[in-house]
Each structure stands twice: as C-alpha cells, then as structure tokens.
C-alpha cells in the first residue's frame, strides 16, 4: 500500500512548491552585491560636468544610491516619496542618472523635484552594469563603510520606505555611531 502512495506524496510536495512559487515575482533578480563593498566609480556630476562624483562621496555616512532616468515612468511616482524623505533629512540620497540626456534629466528634476545631494551622470550605463543594475528605478542602501546592505528593485513606495528602508537606515546609523 505504502509504495502506491509515493506518487501522491511527490505530487503534494510539488503543489506546495508551486504555491510558494506563486508568491514570488519571477522578474526580480536578487543582487549578489549585498554585503559586498560598493563598486568604485568616477563620473561627471549631472549639474556640473567639471565636477566628479566618486565612490568616496558615499563614504562616512549611511546613504541611499538611487538609479533613475527621465525616460522612466515609474520614477515619477518614486520622486514624491524621495522628496518627502529628503525633506525629513534622515538620510542623504545620491542619484545615478542612467542612460539619459543631460538636458532632459535637468528638466525632469525641475518638474518632479530634486531630492538628491548629488547626481552622477552615467551616459553609457557602464557604472550601472558594474553595480548590477538591470532596470530603473533601483535603490541601494550603502552603509558608512561603503558596504551595500540592501537593494530595492523597482520604485520605493511609502510602504517599502516605512517597513524596510527606514528601519534599516536607522539601524545602520546606530551601528556607525557606536563605532
């Protein structure tokens, strides 16, 4: 009798698995960079081509590193959330302007708000590849020592900000202060 139940058992496992699978978004690719040092980069600033933004700018404090573009529709929704966050002065936000035209990006900042401390201008998307970016918007939480601690794929919603990003930022800031 028992051996005739084997197919049923195997099938039950399969169903459980598929049920779990239903809850995952197959399009999200977890970043292998989490827990690793943020990749080096040196790019011209969006507002001032003569100035360079580098990895060193992110060090010494907890930062958000937000990848965005003026052609990205869901970045517009995110802009409101980021604006609110910038006004609260909890954490500085650095931007990576991804495969954009400079004029269009500057115009966009005027229309949708500019929450950024500074923006690196990645015309060819090469730095983005080095950071493992595969779509916009994406946001990295980088700790004071320059280690990537979290990556948000897709726009930061008020929900994500409240439940995930802010608690993590506070914890990282405490960590940095204790040292």
């Amino acid at each position: 009798m028992v051996r005739y139940l084997v197919p049923l058992g195997v099938f039950a496992m399969l169903v459980a698995l598929l049920a779990v699978g239903l809850r995952h978004d197959p399009r999200k690719i977890p970043s292998p960079l989490i827990g690793k040092p943020a990749p080096e980069f040196s790019l011209p600033a969006l507002t001032d081509p003569a100035r360079r933004i580098t990895r060193a700018d992110l060090l010494g404090k907890v930062t958000l590193f937000n990848v965005w573009a003026s052609w990205c529709v869901s970045c517009r929704d995110e802009a409101k959330v980021l604006d609110g966050l910038a006004k609260s002065r909890v954490v500085p936000i650095y931007g990576l302007n991804y495969k954009d035209r400079r004029a269009a990006a500057l115009e966009w900042l005027k229309v949708f708000g500019d929450p950024y401390v500074a923006n690196a201008f990645d015309r060819e998307g090469q730095v983005a590849i080095n950071w493992g970016v595969y779509g916009v918007p994406e946001t990295f939480v980088v700790d004071a020592k320059g280690i990537i601690r979290y990556k948000q794929i897709g726009p930061i919603t008020p929900q994500v900000l409240k439940d995930t990003i802010l608690p993590l930022v506070r914890r990282l800031q405490q960590e940095a202060r204790r040292r």
Binding site: I29, S31, L33, K99, G132, Y134, G135
Partner: protein, 166 residues
C-alpha cells in the same frame, strides 16, 4: 541519400575555393562584433549564447535587442579586448548579476539535484526493472486464465447453459 551526398560533396569542394576567393574582391563587410579575427568573433558569439538577457522574457544576450543586452554585449566586447578570458568575464557578470545570468547552472550544493536527479531516476528505474525481471522470470507461468476471470468464465458458461435451456 543520393541527392544530399552530391550536395555535400559540392559543398566540400566549393567551401575552400570560396574562402580563397574572398581575398580578391572588395573588402568583406565587418562583423558586428568588431572582431575581424574569425576565432575571436566565434568566441564572442559562443559566449553570448550562454548568457541570459536579464530583462527579457527568456532570451540570450546573443539574441536580445533590449537596451541592457546591448550594453552588456559592449561590456563583454570591451573585456575581451582588454584580454580577459571567458571565465574572467563570466565571473565578473556573475559577481554583478548572480548565477541568474548563466544559462548553464553551475554545479554547486544547491544544484546537485538538478544535475544528477534525472540520472538518479534512471538508475532507480533500472534497478526497479531488474528486480521486476528477476521476479517475473523466476516465477512459474501463471494460470493462463487468472482466477477472477476464470470464475467469471464459469459463471458465464453457466449463464449460457441456462439461457439455452430456456
């Protein structure tokens, strides 16, 4: 197989001749990869075929027209030009995008089942088959009519007899 063989023969004879002919005429169009050395070009395309376009539904970097795929192709070309080996390039992409970028899953703790599972099933099947064969060959031939069927046959014959009596 007559016709294909004739064609294959022709192909074989013509191929080297055609190759030689390219030297004379106008310069041949350049490969899109920019690698004029055919070996490099082939290596480039072979590498791309086994890498996944991350934003596409399910396409390789070789086939995809997506913007990110074009950027990643450029990255691969630049690393090749910088003299990096295939494993170096693959290692770089995996460090940025994870194992998801590989169409051939690496052999590691979590993929042993994937790589060996089908063969385990095959072995299990063959073992089961062997056990079954031993049983089947040793057992004496069963009654040509299994017992329930024989009972039914008897009932049937009875029925028919009764029917014919009526």
């Amino acid at each position: 197989m007559k016709a294909p063989s004739a064609w294959l023969l022709a192909l074989l004879l013509v191929a080297p001749a055609a190759h030689a002919a390219t030297g004379g005429g106008p310069p041949p169009p350049t490969p899109t990869s920019g690698f004029t050395n055919p070996k490099e070009d082939a290596r480039y395309h072979a590498l791309l075929k086994n890498l996944r376009c991350l934003v596409c539904q399910n396409e390789s970097l070789q086939d995809s027209q997506a913007g990110l795929a074009q950027d990643l192709r450029r990255e691969v070309r630049e690393q090749m030009r910088a003299g990096k080996s295939n494993p170096d390039i693959v290692k770089y992409l995996v460090s940025r995008y994870g194992d998801f970028v590989l169409y051939r899953p690496p052999l590691m703790g979590t993929t042993y089942l994937l790589w060996f599972g089908p063969f385990l099933v095959l072995i299990a099947g063959i073992v089961a088959l062997f056990v079954l064969l031993r049983r089947r060959t040793r057992r004496p031939d069963p009654d040509p009519l299994p017992a329930p069927e024989r009972r039914r046959l008897a009932a049937l014959l009875r029925e028919r007899e009764e029917g014919s009596k009526r």
